[in-house]
Amino acid sequence: MAAAGRLTGRVAGPALAVTYLSVLVLLPVAALITNAFSHGWGEFWSAVTQPEAVAALELTLAAAAIVALVNSVAGLAIAFVLVRDEFRGKAFISALIDLPFALPTVVAGLTLLTLYGASSPVHVDLAGTRLGVGAALLFVTLPFCVRSVQPVLAELDAETEEAASSLGASRGQVLRRVVLPSLLPSVLAGAGLAFARAVGEFGSVVLISGNLPFKTEVASSWIYSLSQSDDLPAASAVSVVLVVISLLVLIGIGWARRRFDVPETI
């Protein structure tokens, strides 16, 4: 029994796990790469450089970068308020931050479309605009930017700040010289996670963007429409570009976390 258990652990267990992973992830990803280059490098290149693909990729990367930047600032401010401020209803606000994690993306898109769409009760119509794409991405990426900073800020040694101010540092100096530098790695980690999420986002964006080519069509919806028109090699090619970008970002975050000892809080 014990020997059989050891054998199961050594061979059968890992083999089963790898099989499961292969059926669901590894084989499909291999097929994606093979398909992207099935007609050679030239076809791959023309698929990712055709005007509509370039426009979609440019919009996706620019929007993801801007959204990561905006939510980093917002996330820092929200973390400050959640950690250093006290008011009634703070627990509710804190729980609300996680809602985008739990809410289905298509529901997120619908909520934004309801308030900021054509039949907006406040007469702000972002449907079919790039601002609408941005709003959807801000919504889904906010928790990353708050939750990566908040625990680090909470752990931040109050003593260091007190020491700095007892040595004559002004509050502004304490913030600039002590607090912000120690938060910077986790802010960047949050921004990276937000960027990686935004680059591949689909559900929340499609409803409000209207998928207008050259205007509001993001990379994932371009891939979607390519696959609907059965152009699988081109869809695979653009997918490979997206995958490489988000892998690079995530590997970068992993490296930075080890290098700067940033805790993994999400």
């Binding site: 652990g9 619908l110 994932s220 699988l232 892998l247």
Partner: protein, 272 residues
């Protein structure tokens, strides 16, 4: 925080959260019940809506159970056994987190679709995966694969093997050890991981949209039903369906918050 900045910062933050999250979600609730409770009820009990709901529940039951067994199994393998390539398995589990859901769906089509790698073999055996329920289940499993491992593995690594070894010395078999020692120890991480998996499966859209074909009354999951209702200019169904999924999300958040408290208490208790 400088007292001078306390209030302006608080109101800026509250304003941002209100405009981005609170008001949009509130507006959907308002729109869903704008024409009365009856209209909302009719919308969620329409045949296509009910079918989509049952399909989603069925898919979730299959995908979440299989991914839970996989997740616990892989966590035990990675935490308790040494074998060549363990680090690689650990890294590969995270791949779905780096992929756009649309890309995951597309990749599944390339293997299991009619022109995919296994397309001919599957067709010869009369098995339809893509544009059918098995494809939806596989897409849901693929996108939610990492969550249980990511929650359970750290707990297993932190608790170490002392208790399990003690039980083994006292003559307990592997099944007893798992049931009486390992499972109670990983319970909180497991609840957290399973809840995240369920939330992801219930809410998945991109991957499912691409593999399902979204045939109303057949392969339409609940999120596809909502998107389809908007396309069909039937906002009442979309709003009512969205409210139902919002409530599910709130339930998920409650479970996560409760088990998070448990997790934090557990971490505080655990020696550093």
């Amino acid at each position: 925080m400088t007292p001078r900045w306390r209030l302006p910062l608080r109101f800026a933050v509250l304003g941002y959260i209100t405009l981005l999250i609170l008001l949009p979600v509130g507006t959907v609730f308002y729109r869903a019940f704008q024409h009365g409770l009856g209209a909302a009820w009719d919308a969620v009990t329409a045949p296509d809506a009910v079918h989509a709901l049952w399909l989603t529940i069925l898919v979730a039951l299959i995908a979440v159970s299989l991914n839970t067994v996989f997740g616990v199994g892989v966590s035990i393998i990675l935490a308790r056994h040494r074998f060549p390539g363990a680090w690689l398995l650990d890294a590969l589990v995270d791949i779905p987190l780096a992929l756009s859901p649309v890309v995951i769906g597309l990749a599944l089509i390339l293997v299991y679709g009619h022109s995919g790698w296994f397309g001919d073999w599957l067709a010869a055996h009369g098995i339809t995966v893509i544009f059918s329920v098995p494809g939806i289940v596989m897409a849901s499993m693929a996108v939610s694969l990492p969550y249980v491992v990511r929650e359970v593995l750290p707990v297993l690594q932190e608790i170490g093997t002392e208790q399990e070894q003690a039980a083994r010395t006292l003559g307990a078999g592997p099944v007893t050890i798992f049931r009486r020692i390992t499972l109670p120890n990983i319970r909180r991480g497991l609840v957290y991981g399973v809840t995240l998996t369920t939330a992801r499966v219930l809410g998945e859209f991109g991957a499912v949209a691409i593999v399902s074909g979204a045939i109303a009354g057949k392969t339409q999951t609940y999120t596809l039903f909502i998107a389809n209702s908007i396309d069909n200019l039937d906002p009442q169904s979309a709003y009512a369906g969205a409210v139902l999924l919002c409530l599910a999300a709130l339930l998920v958040l409650t479970v996560l918050t409760l088990s998070d408290r448990g997790r934090e208490a557990w971490h505080r208790k655990a020696p550093a």
